[in-house]
Amino acid sequence: MLVSMKWLRDFVDVDCDVDSFAEKMTMSGSKVETIKYIGESIKKVVVGRILDIVPHPDADKLIITSIDIGESEPLQIVTGANNVKVNDYIPVALHGSVLADGTKIKKGKLRGVASNGMLCSLEELGIEKKYIPEHLRDGIYLLNENLNTPFVLGQDIREVLQLIDAVIEFEITANRPDCQSVIGIAREAAATLDVPFQSQTIALKESEEQISYDCKVEDEASCPRFMIKEIKNVTIGPSPYAIQRRLIESGIRPINNIVDITNYVMLEYGQPMHAYDVTKLESSSIVVRLAEEGDTFVTLDDSERTLDASMLMITNNNKNIGIAGVMGGQNTEIDASTTHILLESANFDADSIRRTSKTLGLRTEASSRFEKGIDRQRCEKALKRACQLIEEWGCGTVCQGVSDTQVQAMEAQTISVSLSHINATIGIDLNEEKFVALLARLEIKAEKTDHDYLLTIPLYRSDLWKEEDIVEEVARLYGYDRVPSQGIIGEVLSATKSDQRRFEDEVKQLSTGLGFYEITTYSFVGPSDIERSMISTDKQILTLLNPLGEETSVMRPSLIPGMLNTIALNDARKNKSAALFEYGNVFQRKERDGNLDAIEEKEYVAAVYGEEEDFYTLKGRVELFLNTLGITNLNFVPETDFSDLISNHEDILKNEQQNDVPIEYRLDVVTPFLHPGRSAKLIVQDRVIGVMGEVHPNTMKRYDLKHRVAIVQLDMETIYSIHDTTVKFESLNKYPEVERDLAILVDESIYVQQIEDLIRKHGTDLLSEVRLFDVYAGDQIEKGKKSVAYALKYRSHDRTLTDQEVNAVQDSILVTLESQLNAQLR
């Protein structure tokens, strides 16, 4: 809401500078967004009269003017303007002057002829092009032809064109539709400054003639009040210059006196109005009713609008003449030849207007005011004010009487409040006298009852109807800055964090300790992201009804796509390596009792990429990570059984060469985004807690990744439920440990886990540690075999072990390995 300080001063005496006024208004709840000082930069531009014009001797397009600026000697100015003639009064920028945009004007020579200034157009004086009538947009502004206010030679142009003002832009909160007007802001200013609000007294002269039109409302809920006044002998012309200035400063383009009056009153009172050309009406009755579904209507902006049956229309003789509260129609538009009009001032239901405006995609100054809600007594005052201006400007005669559909006048709202409750809520101690005085500033009458106060609320404050509304009024006028700052008095509360949150914090801390950087990606992804990543999910995808775009249209079923996108971004930006993790929610769709429901679960994804990273660099960290979180007995189980495939590989190749059969591997792929030979399920006591592996070459290609990426995906719901970080102390062993190495040859296809499992199983409780220290396959040993070497530690809690005891266990392990895995001792 833009408000001219000059206009505001019609209603309230602001006795401080604009900046401090703005600060006070902000602090009382009308937030000032901007302050614009009109004409601030213009200097030394005055009124001049052209005494003489001669052609420039050396330039066809220039003329030499002699200008009287009210001083003894005329000024010589060379100009390229072609709309000036002798005796024209024009704005003259003198030597040393500054124009609105900051341009400095100095004397100089134009094609050899001295020029002591410049003649100005309106735009050069800071008036935006959109507000200047088309015929005045080009060329020098001729005061004598266009200005209907007095001026004298040499007078500061800012005074003449009324360019000295400050325009404040207020942010109006949703609860204060009454402040969408100069009067509303003026009332706030009066309350803020604690000075009187000077209301207008309106007396109309009116002619002898009675109004000959009437109005009727068919849908009272949508239109609680509709009023019309009839104006005859209308002369269309420009509005007074001062009025035009106020409209411009408020962001509205002056059009003609009648249209300007409707706009001016709307700005002043916050009541949108409309004028109909009576000669274009077909009957003497205006009817407000709902539109016919599918009807079309041409609005003032020349657009044809398709209506629906929920839209409220203004009609005449069964013809639409306006969309109620939104925009009038072309068929009854005021034009230069209009002589007879009806002025409409009405009240429409906020929801109805909002719906219509939204459906039509048409938001106007009127609709934006109606949709916030306006009290219905305001239309009466506004209508009077408009008629007053018509009489004042002499642009028509107002007929007696009014057609008004209101049956019953509004009654003032009353609220019962307790001062002690108000004081207690705010934390202040306002006494009765000050309380009453403070409310009086808001024109709220306070009447003392037995214990409490009965407040009578002014009609324009439709936002006040409960005690807490009054708490706010008191607090803001008392001053939020004056309310003391006071610690909470009461029970000491111990701050807690849920176990899940603590666990999450620990996971994050641990991850960073292991070298991972945390990433944060959107909770929504695109179906194409899911497809691209090759994740397979049995989750039902949750889709947004109104996403911003494809790439943010579904809730992520996994953190993998976001992680791969992040790695791809970093890789593309030449960030050579990274270790990243994300901990967050993943989503799936579920139906519950026929209704849509959502499941949110915690997932953890970590990945490493770079030249030196592979499955094992990640695995080591994952093991340490899970172990620290209290996950024991973790097993990495290969995802794919390769034993047949590897042995058949040569046969298949041969077959292809000999019989021209294309190579066909049938891999039973469980996790398609992972390399089938370099991926594993993470299993704890028969529960799959996650999957890890190197990213499948096909997925890598899709993201244009060159170095190996190893990734782990963990189901944090399960991990949280089984993790156990209980510490149980074990006394330190006093007896020495016996270390034995065990090196065996086995088939290459044997997983070391199989060997280790057997060692542990047959190691008895004397075996305390199994450490793999070498795996070798190569020249030194038989083809198809590998050498695996372990360091085994034995110990007892109650004695020093003898060689005999240890040998017996070691032998039994070996025997088992030989018999079950066909191992040979090296």
């Binding site: 709840g29 937030k31 949703a174 204060r176 929801d351 809520t425 705010i426 934390g427 202040i428 409960k466 807490e468 708490v471 706010e472 607090a475 803001r476 939020y480 800055d481 309310v483 700052s485 006071q486 610690g487 909470i488 009461g490 029970e491 509360l493 701050a495 807690t496 964090k497 849920s498 949150r501 994050k508 801390q509 960073t512 300790g513 070298g515 950087y517 945390e518 990433i519 944060t520 990606t521 959107y522 909770s523 929504f524 947004l544 009804l545 109104n546 996403p547 911003l548 943010t552 992040t566 971004l569 970093n570 960030n575 270790a579 990243l580 989503f587 849509l596 429901d597 959502a598 949110e600």
Partner: protein, 339 residues
Amino acid sequence: MKERLNQLLEQARKDLDLVTSVKEVDEVRVRYLGKKQELASILKEMGKLSAQERPIMGQLANQVREQIETEVVKQKTRLEEAELNHRLIQEKIDVTLPGKKAELGKRHPLTKVMHEAEDIFMNMGFSIVEGPEIETVKNNFDMLNAPKNHPSRDMSDTFYFDEELLLRTHTSPVQIRTMLESEPPIRIISLGRCFRNDTPDATHSPMFHQIEGLVVGEGITFANLKYTLQKFAESFFGLDTRTKFRPHNFPFTEPSAEVDISCFKCHGAGCSICKGEGYIEILGAGMVHPNVLRNCGIDPTVYSGFAFGMGLERITMLKYGVDDIRLFYENDIRFLDQF
């Protein structure tokens, strides 16, 4: 025998003078003092001596042994020291070479600031609570006293799954859940992801994070709200931070306020960070609307409360001077490494 002993001592001293390593010292020691060596063989002859001579020679022999031992220890210590020094010189390295890479990751800047804020509020007795990202219209709007026609409910503002389910637009539904589940006194911070239908640009993101606080109890006042937020601002932005409460309007609080903090860069003088204002808006706050309390089964005639909310991205951007919100979700490692 006496002569032999003295000779032995002389000879041992000479040998010890010639040694150049700890190993040689040990050899000398063994040669003279070892069980089968010279001193021992002299002592074996003690039996042949008269009873008179025996103690004298015995004493002499002991003296010789002690002297040799003393010499041995002396030489050994000297040589050990020399050898150590030699080794230290040999082992000299270029300490200006880079260290072996140790890797430590970092929390995301938003997590870091979130933890910082959590700590501040936990020290003030606030518990940390969380809720789901997918919420009901009821928890997100209805229970919070948002009018049925409030523009924030529009599809142009809020992401919907259907008429009932949406992506929460603030963390306030967590307050509702908490009030429904527990009795006053309540003092909680709810934080997490929120969503609004905003096209991403330097200051907007369809996903962002909020930190919200709620206090409900007997005798809770607006003055308490001022105190709490002032203390937070001091802890988070610095002890000299001032807060400014301006009246505003929110459906779920009454009275409502917007809260500015004095610019931590210019301390109120006006600079580019605060756009010349001296103050920066960071918070929305107010006294919990009695309707909200009532909706959650809390009697507003007995209890009152305050609530506040702020954008985690905003305070993080202010704190570190980050100029584009999109950087938080892009996760460029060069960005993440700075916090």
